[in-house]
């Protein structure tokens, strides 16, 4: 998919002034966000399981070649075909070539963020193969020809009226209004597609190394359709999705699902261990798996950002993020929005065109608190800010084009700041000078309008005048007074 993160400011500004989008974003907060908190409070050993999940992911990522090797050997032992793709284009070409060689006319897709990276729908269409998204949210945005707004709820930004307008033409113009009726209408539209599709494309929630299993989690049943009805199953995954043991699934399903939607379990969890066997009634004849790098190696190469590969794609960080809940999903300009998107988009696609993203955070830490594997997103956002300003990028070679985006004026300010903070005397003097300088423009101790470039600060709030006496000097005086009182024998009641 084309990266449009360079338009962050423009799209974010438009979203924040759109009352309908703001209302839709509230739904994310009330639904998913609260659901996760309830689960965190009512699940036994929740914190312990987060720690354990994190430890397992850290272990896998530090030994990723080993576990990927074990996993792919087992997939092949189970009768599956594995294809490694260095980038999205290579992965898409494999899917399309296979579809063409097998005479596939229609592909049904269960939600797969990796296939969004590949822009797979466009590539299939261009090759004359019909791709149909079957997750209701993905189906809606496919009809609208848009990118997902949220990794769990892709069409969260669409009102039911907009959905009605998108679905009606698919039912010969018949328009329904209520949400339940719209859902039923989508069901009726997609059932014949499930029956005629030749290939099912799915994502992968977990890939189990010791068994060669891929695990797919859905609520709608479309993931099961895609792995049961067509004669070919094609699964697409990022290379970081591996977990070591079948037993680890209990823990990871628990923390993924509870963090994602606030459910105890999703309605359907499918563990796929290869194609249909001869004594079965149905299921795919062929099982193919595409494993993509597409920038993940760059994340792996930077020890400061490697942690981003622990992500299990639950979406909890975006639900918790006060910035995501204002600027919405499309501002981030690629596949992954929210705090995790602000880290992986610049790291995977290049900092230059996504340099605004690491700054789209108040560093409040809500994302880290919500993350089921405790990814330290604020730390990585700071790291990327530093890389954006300094032009250094860990192990990745310097990106001089990203150097110092704010220019020499900002550098001067920071230099003055550093000087001012460099010693006690300088700091005290600075505070006093600031008061003297601001006194003529302040009204009753508050600055209503700051001068020049600082005016942005005061557009929505006042700035307090520095106090006449600093906290330190007042504290000293209070301490002296208290000491005097003690020595004067104030101990009544002794």
């Amino acid at each position: 998919m084309e990266v449009k993160s360079g338009e962050f400011r423009k799209v974010a500004a438009a979203t924040m002034t759109d009352p309908r989008l703001q209302e839709a974003l509230d739904g994310v907060y009330t639904g998913f966000y609260k659901g996760r908190i309830v689960q965190a409070l009512t699940t036994d050993r929740w914190e312990e399981q987060r720690e354990q999940g994190r430890a397992i992911k850290a272990h896998v990522i530090e030994n990723l070649d080993y576990y990927l090797g074990m996993f792919t050997e087992n997939v092949e032992k189970n009768g599956g075909h594995v294809y490694f793709a260095a980038n999205a284009a290579e992965a898409a070409r494999y899917v399309v070539d296979l579809a063409k060689s097998r005479g596939v006319k229609t592909v049904i897709k269960s939600k797969s963020m990796v296939s969004e990276e590949m822009g797979l729908n466009n590539v299939l269409e261009a090759a004359g193969v019909e791709p149909v998204e079957t997750d209701l949210g993905e189906y809606i945005i496919q009809l609208a020809r848009e990118a997902p707004y949220h990794i769990i709820a892709p069409a969260i930004h669409k009102s039911k009226e907009q959905v009605a307008d998108l679905l009606a033409p698919q039912s010969g113009g018949q328009k329904v209004e209520e949400i339940a009726a719209l859902t039923r209408q989508a069901r009726e539209q997609l059932r014949p597609v499930f029956q005629r599709a030749d290939m099912g494309v799915t994502g992968v929630n977990f890939a189990v190394a010791e068994s060669g299993s891929v695990v797919i989690v859905t609520n709608e049943g479309n993931g099961r359709m895609a792995t049961s009805a067509p004669r070919i199953h094609m699964a697409c995954m990022g290379m970081e999705k591996v977990i070591p043991s079948v037993r680890d699934l209990a823990l990871f399903l628990r923390i993924l699902i509870r963090s994602a939607t606030g459910q105890r379990i999703s309605n359907y969890v499918s563990m796929i261990n290869g194609p249909r066997r001869p004594d079965e009634h149905d299921g795919p004849d062929e099982f193919h798996l595409v494993i993509v790098d597409n920038g993940r190696l760059r994340l792996l190469a930077d020890p400061a950002l490697r942690e981003a590969l622990y992500c299990i794609r639950c979406g909890a960080c975006m639900n918790a993020c006060p910035v995501y809940r204002k600027v919405g999903g499309h501002s981030y300009g690629w596949v992954y929005p929210g705090p995790i998107g602000a880290v992986v988009t610049p790291a995977m696609t290049g900092l230059k065109q996504a340099k605004d993203l690491p700054f789209a955070s108040s560093l409040c830490g809500a994302c880290r608190e919500a993350c089921p594997v405790k990814i330290d997103l604020p730390r990585m956002l700071l790291e990327l800010r530093s890389q954006a300003v300094e032009g250094t990028a860990g192990n990745i070679k310097h990106q001089p084009e990203a150097r110092n985006p704010e220019g020499p004026a900002e550098r001067l300010v920071w230099r003055a700041w550093r000087f001012g903070m460099g010693g006690r005397m300088r700091f005290d003097l600075g505070a006093r000078l600031a008061r003297v300088a601001l006194l003529p423009v302040a009204r009753r101790g508050w600055l209503k309008k700051a001068p020049g470039p600082a005016s942005g600060w005061t557009t929505s709030r006042d700035f307090p005048l520095p106090a006449a006496r600093s906290f330190r000097s007042r504290f000293k005086r209070v301490k002296r007074a208290a000491a005097r009182e003690r020595t004067m024998g104030g101990g009544h009641g002794a």
Partner: protein, 244 residues
């Protein structure tokens, strides 16, 4: 085409790792050895048998929370009647039934025939021909209900687990608008932890089936305005008959 060896080598170089097996982290299930795991699986089965009553009660409660229509049946005959009653209440006239051991004990087909429901029964051997599988697919999408047993159920989450080894079709529990599942006393496990101990046991014994499906009530979506709607691509309505 990116060669696997080259792909893995690039990962290894970036990680600065030697080409050898790491010492397995104690947090992962991989650190549990075969003998220990097999012994644990025995304990899981013994515990499921010992606590069969309370676990069935717990399942009834958690399943109801997931919008399963839960029916308790005392005997196998009662269970067969409950399946027929579920078909009547859902207005189901035609059903496909997967094979499962529970149906050798519970006379479901007789009860359904008495209600006037037309039943197609799937055998243990699978469906060999493409044409046969095509017909089964069309039938699964056309009938009013699908009936299955359950290999395990999970009290923690209100879930049933289905394996293909019992002559099961994937589509029977998925394509018809109504799914009716029969769970026997003794097959209920406390949580996902125990389920995946048993799955790992199957793997270590070389008996891992081609898939496992966990089903936790009717299909649902919240994709329009974050409003939860029951019934989208999978069944609109699910019934759970608990025997014993």
């Amino acid at each position: 085409m990116t060669d696997r060896g080259a792909f893995l080598r690039a990962v290894r170089v970036v990680l600065d790792r030697r080409d050898e097996a790491p010492s397995v982290a104690p947090e992962t299930g991989l650190s549990v050895g075969r003998d220990e795991l097999l012994a644990e699986a025995e304990r899981v089965r013994a515990e499921a048998a010992r606590r069969a009553g309370p676990l069935l009660d717990a399942l009834a409660e958690s399943a109801a929370k997931n919008a399963w229509k839960v029916v308790r049946a005392r005997t196998n005959e009662d269970a067969a009647e409950a399946v027929a009653a579920a078909c009547r209440s859902a207005g189901a006239k035609s059903v496909v039934r997967s094979d499962h051991n529970v149906f050798t004990r519970s006379p479901v087909d007789r009860a359904l025939a008495a209600t006037g429901v037309q039943v197609t029964v799937l055998g243990r051997g699978g469906t060999a021909s493409d044409a046969g599988r095509g017909r089964l697919k069309a039938e699964a999408f056309a009938v009013d209900a699908g009936i299955t047993g359950a290999d395990y159920a999970i009290a923690e989450t209100g879930t049933i687990a289905l394996h293909p080894r019992a002559g099961l079709s994937r589509l029977v529990s998925l394509a018809p608008p109504v799914h009716i599942a029969v769970v026997e006393r003794g097959s209920v496990l406390p949580s996902l932890d125990e389920l995946f101990v048993l799955e790992r046991e199957s793997l270590l014994r070389g008996e891992l089936p081609s898939y496992m499906n966990l089903i936790s009530g009717p299909s649902r979506t919240g994709d329009i305005e974050a409003t939860i709607v029951q019934g989208i691509h999978g069944p609109l309505e699910t019934h759970l008959v608990l025997v014993g």
